[in-house]
């Protein structure tokens, strides 16, 4: 991406200060909205389409106010037809547009899975390289809001399983701001998972914050004793656990995957070579999980660097329940992460 997008970012991403190198207070939701607004301003081929993205302002209010600026042609409310509007996004991408399809939650995306897997992910290869599908699909994912078993799952791994897709999970303000322009520049379909508990995340973001890569993991906290690998909504929990563990004298390195496909093996393996221990935190169910994939890669590539068997902190194998105490018990929590790290530190 680089220079052009960064320059564009400086031009339009100014929430009040107008000073490039100053930080501004913002939220994950506002960072996403800024990215959308800038992309729409920069490229007339970009449009947003999905349920309640327009008049309602987006079910998580990400697109609030964009209808007024860009009009109903480009902030396009759709009927409740996930398969048709996702497929229409694929078709529009084939027809020269740069669509952004918003699906309310990952659970609803199953209604569009045929289009995502059988068309978006396959057309390039199936056509012998004649057609690419430059489409971005955004959706909310994850639990933590007492929305029960049809609005709370973490199925990122289902998508990360599919060759032909790129899958990203912004977990910081900078990534919420910067992944979209890169995803839009990418000639292939990118699925972007926004954890529902992150939308209200607040913090400071440099005013010139712009496009970021969508391939590499990031070390969010450096440490020497154990590597904690996570992504998305589990990042704040993992960082909280790392703080707690620091008080116990355990120095954790925290890696944010950022990209779930491709997975940045190199960053993980290099970290494990230093710390010799790994715990993976993943809100998906344990069986067949992304955490299982990460552990396998570490075992395949760094078996002899390990001082202890790897560990996973995943969701319990249960449909996410409604009651607050049950929901909390079903999910990875800082206390569970702390316990898993202690166990790994005591092994080997």
């Amino acid at each position: 991406m680089g220079a052009r997008c960064r320059a564009d970012a400086r031009c339009v991403y100014a929430l009040g200060t107008g000073v490039n190198d100053s930080a501004i207070q913002t939220t994950y939701r506002e960072a996403l909205r800024s990215a959308l607004r800038e992309a729409m301003r920069a490229d007339p081929r970009v449009f947003l389409m999905g349920e309640d993205v327009g008049r309602y302002g987006g079910s998580y209010a990400v697109s609030l106010g964009l209808l007024e600026e860009f009009g109903p042609e480009r902030i396009r409310d759709t009927p409740l037809s996930e398969s048709a509007f996702t497929g229409a996004g694929i078709g529009a991408a084939l027809g020269g547009m740069r669509p952004i399809v918003e699906i309310m939650t990952v659970n609803f995306s199953l209604l569009a899975l045929d289009q995502i897997l059988n068309n978006a992910a396959t057309i390039r290869h199936m056509s012998g390289g004649q057609f690419s599908v430059p489409l971005v699909i955004r959706m909310a994912t994850g639990a933590g809001r007492q929305l029960a078993a049809q609005h709370s799952h973490s199925l990122e791994n289902w998508y990360a399983h599919i060759p032909g897709l790129r899958v990203v999970a912004p977990a910081t303000l900078a990534d919420a701001r910067g992944m979209l322009p890169t995803a839009l520049a990418c000639p292939d379909p990118v699925v972007m998972f926004e954890h529902a508990t992150l939308y209200n995340l607040e913090g400071a973001l440099p005013a010139d914050s712009g496009a970021v890569d969508i391939e590499r993991a990031a070390i969010r906290r450096s440490g020497k004793d154990v590597t904690l690998v996570t992504y998305g909504g589990s990042l704040p929990k993992t960082l909280a656990a790392a703080d707690a563990l620091a008080a116990d004298g355990i120095d954790c390195e925290v890696i944010d995957l950022r990209s779930l496909r491709p997975i940045d093996d190199a960053t993980i393996i290099a970290s494990v070579a230093r710390t010799r221990r790994i715990v993976v935190v993943d809100e998906g169910w344990r069986s067949g999980s992304l955490a299982g994939e990460i552990v396998t890669r570490v075992v395949e590539q760094a078996f002899y660097d390990l001082d202890a068997a790897p560990a996973r902190v995943c969701s319990e194998e249960v449909p996410i329940p409604y009651a607050k105490h049950l929901e909390e018990a079903a999910l990875p929590q800082p206390a569970k992460i702390v316990a898993a790290v202690h166990a790994v530190m005591n092994r080997g």
Binding site: E73, T78, S81, G87, A92, L94, I123, H125, Q130
Partner: protein, 335 residues
């Protein structure tokens, strides 16, 4: 279209048109028959769905589309690909799975693609092409291009949710898409009356406030007229249309199909009534547009083209296995 066609009659004459129609349908018929033979010879593998009996639809439809229009088809799409102008050599090579195939051996019979022809597949998920076609039409509308997307699907697709979702979306947004339903009466082995509460499929258009019409798919002239009326209206900006074309599949669903679900007598009765080729040739002779030597000449031309396509496919190379994962992703270097 080979050169001797054009030489035979003045452009625009009934005779010229008749030559083109017979040539177009004969190419498909003989190509499909040859494919069945090559399947038996193990040259073609996988699923193979033949279009024998339905040729008039592809030929009639493609005559009314411009090169800028788009086509989305199904897994029974050899006829559409041929009529749309994808070279028979590239189609046959794709049947063989060769690198010179129109999908470089990645797609096979069910997934013919061609960017030049704006031919967006060969979709083997029943109704899976409808949302795609809706989106192609949306792209045209947003970019203010007076193009039409023709979306061909079988009557089995009408039972899928994607049919209803796409019809609604296209009508709601007045998108330039022709939904052309090839009603051959059987969704694989399931007869229409065993799967649809409303078997007058064109009437479903009314539920979306969309014009719907029905035409005899065994009459190539009628198909062309109906398609032209629909495409002209769509191109003028009046929104999508549903065209039901009634036809019959003379062959089995695929090469694995023992045809337990329909009587031989039924198939024979349809054959006796005559498919689109038989019927149009009889008409053309009756009207004195064509005579027997014309037909014989077309048969020779088609036979030569098919042989050349086979020779091309046979002589073509296999894609090196080292290229297996090419085109899963588009080459891209984020700056």
């Amino acid at each position: 279209m080979s050169k001797d066609m054009g030489d035979a009659a003045p452009a625009g004459s009934d005779r010229a048109r008749a030559l083109q129609l017979v040539h177009g349908m004969l190419r498909i018929r003989r190509f499909e028959e040859k494919c069945a033979e090559l399947y038996g010879a193990l040259k073609i593998r996988g699923f193979l769905h033949l279009y024998v009996g339905e040729e008039a639809i592809a030929v009639g439809l493609m005559r009314v589309l411009t090169p800028e229009d788009a086509v989305v088809a199904t897994y029974r799409e050899h006829g559409h690909a041929l009529a749309r102008g994808i070279p028979m050599t590239a189609i046959m090579a794709e049947m063989y799975g060769k690198a010179s195939g129109c999908s470089h051996g990645r797609g096979g019979s069910m997934h013919l693609f061609d960017a030049t022809a704006r031919f967006y597949g060969g979709n083997a998920i029943v109704a899976g092409g409808l949302p795609l076609a809706t989106g192609l039409a949306l792209a045209d509308m947003l970019q203010q291009r007076a193009r039409v997307t023709a979306c061909v699907f079988g009557e089995g697709a009408v039972a899928e949710g994607e049919f209803h979702e796409s019809m609604n979306l296209a009508a709601l947004w007045k998108l330039p898409v022709l939904f052309l339903c090839e009603n051959n009466l059987y969704a694989m082995g399931t007869a229409l009356e065993r799967s649809e509460a409303q078997t007058e499929l064109h009437q479903k258009a009314a539920g979306y406030g969309m014009p719907g019409s029905v035409v005899d798919g065994m009459d190539v002239l009628a198909v062309e007229d109906a398609a032209r009326r629909a495409v002209t209206a769509i191109r003028s900006g009046s929104g999508p249309q549903l065209l039901e074309v009634r036809t019959y599949r003379f062959r089995a669903h695929s090469m694995f199909d023992p045809e337990r679900y329909r009587d031989k007598a039924e198939v024979e009765a349809w054959k006796k009534k005559g498919g689109p080729l038989t019927r149009f040739i009889a008409r053309a002779k009756h009207e004195r547009w064509l005579d027997e030597p014309d037909i014989e000449g077309l048969e020779r031309t088609v036979a030569e083209e098919i042989q050349a396509a086979i020779d091309f496919a046979e002589a073509s190379e296999w894609e090196p296995v080292a290229e297996l994962t090419r085109d899963v992703y588009t080459p891209w270097e984020p700056a």
